[in-house]
């Protein structure tokens, strides 16, 4: 029996399953089981590991609070700007690098990636101090030097979001540039030549050759940015720590962390998690349909 199993697994039919076995086990234990548990827990009141009581939709009802609404707004606002800024700016930089117009493109390529190597918490220290509330903070000093009013950057949602996006752009720009470059390099040059013969200008070439050419990469970048935007946590800890006055900067995951691990309400935290899951899946599905991901390749 054992010998037959061994023969099967080392034979041509069984071997592929041995290769993918790590993922199958991992999927069941680390994704499927916890996902099912989160769904169950979101309908439960949990006091200690052995006290699970079903309470129906009560956890979801309890989410209608000012704090959670603020967290939704913070994450939502961040996600929107995140997608806009981190889709467009790296694409611009990648196109310039790919065009070979700028000098020392390879040097810049390597250099732009360096911020991505840092930990957001560590790099965030610099952003946190530079955008401090005091008038002596670096950015405010620059503002007053140019005759502008100093800003209490991290005290309000709007300016706070601006600093978050700046930190995110600084940290992730290089990663997205590399993704885009890989897409740009895959576009055959004769497509550009054909457009050239048809008399297309630079902008028309970008719209009709470059964009369709990098569509798979574009879809990938937008999808992971939507995911990262809604589930952002570390960036906000870097700027505000976990307990900030009035909840400015607290995200959905930050709220989940506070409810689940600080206040020990795992049921309510699971409900928060499922709201997050619903948001990410819904927004990404809409986005994928709009980008034509499910359309048959022509």
């Amino acid at each position: 029996m054992i010998r037959r199993l061994k023969n099967y697994l080392t034979g041509p039919k069984g071997v592929p399953y041995l290769f993918v076995a790590p993922f199958i086990i991992f999927f069941l234990l680390v994704y499927l089981y916890p996902l099912i548990m989160t769904i169950i827990m979101s309908f439960q009141q949990i006091d200690g590991p052995n006290h699970h009581d079903f309470i129906g939709l009560k956890n979801y009802m309890k989410l209608n609070t000012r704090d959670f609404n603020m967290a939704l707004q913070t994450s939502g606002r961040y996600a929107v700007w995140d997608v806009i800024v981190l889709t467009i700016i790296p694409l611009l930089v990648a196109c310039v690098l790919h065009s070979g117009l700028a000098k020392a493109s390879n040097f810049f390529k390597s250099l732009f990636f360096i911020p991505s190597l840092t930990s957001i918490i560590v790099a965030g220290i610099v952003f946190r101090l530079a955008f401090g509330t005091l008038e002596t903070a670096t950015v405010n000093r620059a503002l007053t030097f140019f005759g502008l009013q100093p800003v209490k950057w991290l005290s309000y949602a709007g300016p706070g979001n601006f600093v978050l996006i700046l930190l995110t752009l600084w940290r992730w720009n290089g990663v997205n540039i590399v993704y885009y470059l890989s897409g740009l390099q895959a576009i055959p040059t004769d497509h550009y030549e054909a457009a050239q013969i048809d008399g297309a200008n630079a902008w028309q070439k970008f719209i009709h050759v470059t964009l369709p050419g990098i569509r798979p990469v574009l879809i990938y970048v937008i999808t992971i940015t939507v995911l990262g935007g809604f589930s952002m946590f570390t960036e906000s800890v870097a700027l505000w720590q976990q307990n900030n006055a009035g909840g400015v900067g607290r995200t959905i995951v930050g709220y989940m962390y506070m409810v689940g691990f600080k206040k020990n309400n795992l049921g309510l935290a699971s409900a928060v998690g499922l709201v997050l899951l619903g948001l990410v899946v819904a927004v990404n599905l809409i986005q994928l349909v709009l980008m034509g991901f499910f359309r048959k390749e022509d």
């Binding site: 680390v30 089981y33 989160t38 590991p49 930089v93 310039v96 670096t138 470059l181 390099q185 995911l227």
Partner: protein
């Protein structure tokens, strides 16, 4: 695009503008490092009074602060460093080993259920991982893996984005190589180890850096698992113990610089392989 027939003068102007734009982004990328390093040389009181500056004052600037890292809370910073390094190495080695096998298997073999498994990889990549942490936390308590390094790396043993990447990369490997190996009498794992691994080195280079980045930066899950201060990693320590909100200004900036330096050094040595590997296994549909 060398095929563009823009006349010489216009091209020169464009070239200057493009280079200027790149310099602007380069300054943006580098300036936080400059602030970090210059401030690390100054006493903490100086920074509390004047904030971050790029000024170099030979009277008060020195590497004195770096020695404060050894004495701050009995050198707890270096414990964080050790934790971060151990977790980074474990997570990267195990993650690369498993996900390269899976990615290669998905690309090179035709078997029933292959598309289903690959679809699961894609779905899992698009799931916000954070929502799984609550049940996982309970699992870790039951498995008595709280406050252990192994508990931290469990959710990253077979990272789906790495499977995806290794699959894409393996798709570019000619299948004839496999047949050749078979004729020479290699087993399937022998083919993987002796023939395919050397071909996949650029992919391993790229994934090593990405994995190190992710691990070195990870905050939420390690913060849940690692409960004693000595077990903490650098992001936990710098995010909760030495923070810009605390009063440990002397160690704040040297701590930040020391956290950034090693991974940049690794990158500078490996960057050619890295960029090549990452762009070669590109995201194609």
């Amino acid at each position: 695009m060398a095929t563009n027939r823009i006349d010489g003068k216009k091209r020169t102007v464009l070239s200057v503008l493009a280079t200027l734009l790149m310099i602007l982004f380069a300054v943006f990328a580098m300036i936080p490092f400059a602030f970090m390093f210059m401030s690390s040389l100054k006493p903490g009181t100086e920074m509390m009074r004047y904030g971050l500056t790029l000024k170099f004052d030979p009277g008060i600037s020195s590497f004195q602060n770096y020695t404060a890292l050894d004495t701050y809370r009995d050198g707890v910073y270096w414990h964080w460093y050790k934790s971060s390094a151990i977790i980074m190495v474990l997570q990267t080695v195990i993650g690369l080993a498993f996900s390269s096998l899976v990615g290669y298997g998905l690309a090179m073999y035709n078997f029933r259920g292959r598309n289903l498994i690959f679809t699961l990889v894609l779905i899992v990549m698009m799931l916000p991982f954070e929502i799984l942490l609550l049940p996982m936390y309970q699992m870790m308590i039951r498995a008595k893996m709280m406050n252990s390094y192994f508990g931290v790396i469990i959710p990253y043993l077979v990272p789906p984005f790495m499977i995806f990447f290794f699959r894409q990369y393996s798709l570019g490997i000619p299948k004839e190589l496999m047949e050749a190996g078979r004729i020479d009498g290699c087993s399937d794992f022998g083919i993987f180890r002796r023939i395919m691994l050397p071909i996949m080195i650029p992919a391993f280079g790229a994934m090593t850096i990405l994995s190190c980045m992710n691990s070195w930066n990870n905050l939420l899950w390690p913060m849940i698992i690692l409960q004693t201060e000595k077990m903490h990693t650098i992001p936990i320590g710098m995010g909760t113990t030495i923070t810009p909100y605390g009063n440990a200004y002397d160690v704040l900036m040297p701590g930040a610089v020391m956290a950034v330096v090693p991974i940049i050094i690794i990158y500078l040595f490996a960057q050619k392989t890295f960029i090549k590997g990452l762009t070669a296994g590109s995201v194609k549909g």
